[in-house]
Amino acid sequence: MSLSDQLIIAPVVIPALAAPLALLVMRRRRWLGVGISLMSCLGLLVTALLLLNRAGDGAIRSYAVGGWPAPFGIVLVLDRLSAMMLVLAAVLGMIALVHAVLTRADRAGWHFHPLFQFQLMGLNGAFLTGDLFNLFVFFEVLLIASYGLMLHGQGRARLKAGVQYVIVNIVGSSLFLVALGLLYALTGTLNMADMGLRVAALGPDDQGLLRIAALLLVSVFALKAALVPLHLWLPRTYAVTTPAVAALFAVMTKVGVYAMIRVVPQIFGDGAGAAAWVPAPWLLPAAMATAVMGFAGVFTARNLSEQAAFAVIGSTGTLMIAVAGWQVESLAAALYYLVHSTLTGMALFLVADIVARRRAGQADQASPGPAFAQRAGIGLLFLLAAIAATGLPPLSGFLGKLLVLQSVAGTPGWQWAWAVILGTTLFGVIGFARSGSAVFWKTSPAVDNAVPPPSRTDDMVGAIAALLLLAALFLCAGPMTAFTRAAAEQLLDPAATAAAVLGGR
């Protein structure tokens, strides 16, 4: 195995090394710790781009950790989808980290940088792994880091939301383990590719158990993805946490979506007997309810970060409407929309943070306040982020929604899907217009204790970068959709993955 083949494990190793290093040097030399953290993010970005370039040829590469062959040892699998997700996580991590450092949000507690690196490690590991139990372990890594990050800076509201967040996720992890135990008892393997083959060979007696296991597994992923009715933990958690962290968390719900589109075609695909596409009938109604709930929340949210959190839920709903089709076209549209919606969620949280930092008393509440510094510029940023979130031209949200609409046309229940997507867009537009006009257009008389606005304007860098990426996503839509289409084709061909992972077996 040459050195370049070892590159596959680098996205897990780099943050795993950077986190303890940053922890060690943080006490004495703060700037060195920050430097290590930034270098690690940069390294991740470069590695992810290299891997993306490599995955572009369509071959599926597997990396046997410790040299143990596939069904026995743990494998990491690199295909187009995982490479794409790696790049997305690296970009998000980079922007969130730069924003946190520039706004000094990382100084509110001791261990921001080590936790941030562990979070990235968990994300990357979850995107790469080809082993179901390993997926659980990486989920736990990213969850434990996220508990720390979520509580970063502390305060009453965060602690209160944190308790609920932790409890919900512990229950989710328990259910994940139950599903894993069932699947292992049925198939005797934990490797996803191998499991896909063995599920097809199960006898009729085991089909009931298999269905239960499949549905349990999918409901755990739905919990992570915050699909209705499992979404209740999200709005409060994301709204009260540090905005830079919330921006990174925008990718965490997408981990649930990713796990679903990775596991379902691979294990519960056409050959899986009674469990074939077992979540499909549930997914479409849940996705539509999620979109409606999310954008209704956008409509009623009381402050901008809460609005951003609901926009994340709504976009997950739109995304899952496309995923629920399980066709090449709809999955390709879903992947394009996934990239777009993650970046949008991040932009919304960052803009909410910028507003909150300039309005002392009111923070980011959607109510009129005294005029604040750089209001026109920030208003423009908010306008662009809202345009992206609701899916109006000229940003990538428009294309994303168009692709989703196009791909679901003709599938069963497509009229409902169209009505939901278009209706929620209207809701979103009104909601964002309302809060935007309250924050940026109306002014109330200045209060006595107005604080001077921050002299620095570099906290806008993160939001501008996210919006530029969205514009780039729109301009590069041609190659991008070709790539997501190829990724979707790869996903829906589990036999090829199995052949690549398990070798000649």
């Binding site: 944190g162 932790v166 512990i170 934990l190």
Partner: protein, 115 residues
């Protein structure tokens, strides 16, 4: 074995649905015990069999669930410790050990503002 798991799960779910954090943490612990037992028996119950393969032995216990249970125990132990500390902090800071504290106070809480 099945009834042990069932009793643990039932007790765990009942406690986890209570309003106070201490009972919820206990409930989560019970659920995690049930899950650990469940994982352990997912490799079938075997008695007096070595878990390591050798040429002279034809029957052996499945070693994988044991490794899985070990991992799961470590993770849930860490999680439980974290949940205990977190609920203690939350109790000290908010003065309430209810899982869902005061809704209105939370929404208008200026703590959410980053400084």
């Amino acid at each position: 074995m099945a009834s042990a798991i069932a009793v643990l799960t039932a007790g765990g779910i009942y406690l986890a649905l209570r309003g106070r954090t201490f009972q919820v943490v206990l409930g989560l612990t019970l659920i995690s015990y049930a899950v650990n037992l469940f994982l352990f028996v997912s490799g079938r119950l075997t008695i007096n069999r070595p878990p390591i393969w050798s040429k002279t032995i034809s029957d052996y216990a499945d070693p994988l669930p044991q490794a899985l249970v070990l991992t799961a125990i470590v993770i849930t132990f860490g999680m439980t410790a974290f949940a205990v500390v977190l609920s203690l902090r939350s109790f000290l800071e908010t003065g309430s050990d209810q899982v869902d504290g005061d809704e209105v106070a939370c929404a208008t809480d200026s703590d959410a503002t980053p400084s």
